[in-house]
């Protein structure tokens, strides 16, 4: 349970960070909060020769709020974003989802960029970025590019990030003024990974359901529905027809049951909340 030896580079600018990434390529891993990487190092699932520690890169530690979205630097801790959203009373859906990420001592170190780059199929931030149709900005020594969530998350723990790229910022679009929202998660213990999580956004007659934990990436379904009754029928149909994974923590049947029962819960509560 002790990491193999490695050396650490602590760049102070994004330029230095991407240059290091270009030089070291596959020999290097990027570390920010390390709440997933440190256990992987300790268990020697990962044995990089070099860590590029981005905690001192100022460009990656800002939260910038615009009229229609919030831009979060990749090295911003989850706790900082959580507190920001509560203090500014902004983005209630994201604010609702943040406390579900592990436990506060983990969120104090864990970063928004780390969670997005790791792309766990049941991670709350991955689900949030997917349902909000947000995007990320990646930088290499050569260029910067923007990738939308749908194209960024390509599989379980797999993203479109190339070896020489560093995640710079994550952009979460805000909800429309009249939008209603909901989030619910089922796990075996508070702070554990979700077996199934559901986020819902309702804009007038347009309902968007997003499911975490049911497959390799969050599954998002958007549908025009004229009544709550139609919405209940829609989620029953989804639960019966979409591809659902099976693993030792839960059977496919349990996941289907949770998809439906949790969606029903959100549909029944949706009139109580406003974005």
């Amino acid at each position: 349970m002790k990491s193999a030896p490695f050396v650490v580079h602590q760049p102070k600018s994004l330029r230095d960070a991407v240059n290091l990434s270009a030089i070291h390529g596959e020999d290097a891993k990027i570390i920010a909060g390390g709440q997933t990487l440190v256990p992987m190092l300790a268990m020697r699932i990962a044995t990089p020769a070099i860590l590029i520690d981005i905690n001192n890169v100022k460009e990656l530690t800002t939260i910038v709020e615009k009229e229609y979205f919030i831009e979060v630097g990749a090295a911003v801790s989850q706790a900082r974003l959580e507190d920001y959203l509560v203090n500014k009373n902004t983005h209630p859906l994201l604010a609702t989802m943040m406390p579900w990420i592990a436990h506060r001592p983990i969120r104090n170190r864990g970063t928004v960029g780390g969670s997005i780059a790791h792309a766990d199929p049941s991670a709350e931030l991955v689900l949030a970025l997917s349902i909000l149709q947000g995007w990320v900005v990646l930088a290499s020594a050569k260029k910067q590019r923007k990738v939308i969530a749908q194209e960024f998350f390509i599989g379980a723990l797999q993203t479109d990030r190339q070896m020489d790229e560093i995640l710079v910022k994550i952009v979460f679009p805000k909800l429309d003024k009249n939008a209603q929202y909901g989030f619910v998660e089922y796990g075996y213990r508070h702070g554990d990974f979700a077996v199934v999580s559901v986020a819902l956004i309702k804009n007038d007659q347009e309902w968007t359901f997003a499911y975490g934990g049911i497959n390799d990436t969050p599954q998002v379904f958007k549908e025009k529905l004229s009544s709550h009754q139609d919405a209940l029928a829609f989620v029953a149909h989804l639960a019966n027809t979409v591809n659902v994974r099976e693993d030792p923590t839960a059977s496919a049947d349990l996941r289907r049951h949770l998809m439906q029962s949790q969606s029903e819960l959100l549909i029944k509560q949706i009139d109580l909340v406003k974005g």
């Binding site: 030896p5 650490v8 390390g34 436990h103 506060r104 001592p105």
Partner: protein, 169 residues
Amino acid sequence: MSQLPFSEKISVEVNVNGEKRSADCEYRTTLGDFLRHGLGLTGTHYGCEHGVCGACTIHVDGEPVRSCLMFAYQANGKEIQTVEGLSSKEELSDLQAAFRKHHALQCGFCTPGFLMTSSKFLDDNPSPTEQQVREAISGNICRCTGYKGIVEAILEVANQRTAKGGRVC
């Protein structure tokens, strides 16, 4: 045997429990190992070593973190509080005394983590409900005595402090 080229020693200095301390370690040394083996502060316990059990919880710059999920080099220059810093050498803190009174420990292995998690929680939430206490300590695992005594101890301290109009150490 020749030394691996990259197991080089680095020097880390931290302000721990109000005292400047430094020691040599490797880049791969976790903060908890640094505190225990580098500085001899063995109050911080390692259980699972991958962030699940919470036994190694300490405060870095005032915030609770898992000391097994942070490298010592990342704490360079930071303020650290460990369980040794919760009270003076002569007397237990109110929280520690309440843990003893309510039998909130049996083997005591998880206790430093529970104390560090709950001390910060009480600073932020002076009058918590039982449900809030249970959620706050849900990231810490106790395998022998259960959580009843721990919850009672934390709630009693909250009540005592509220009655006295603030925190008493």
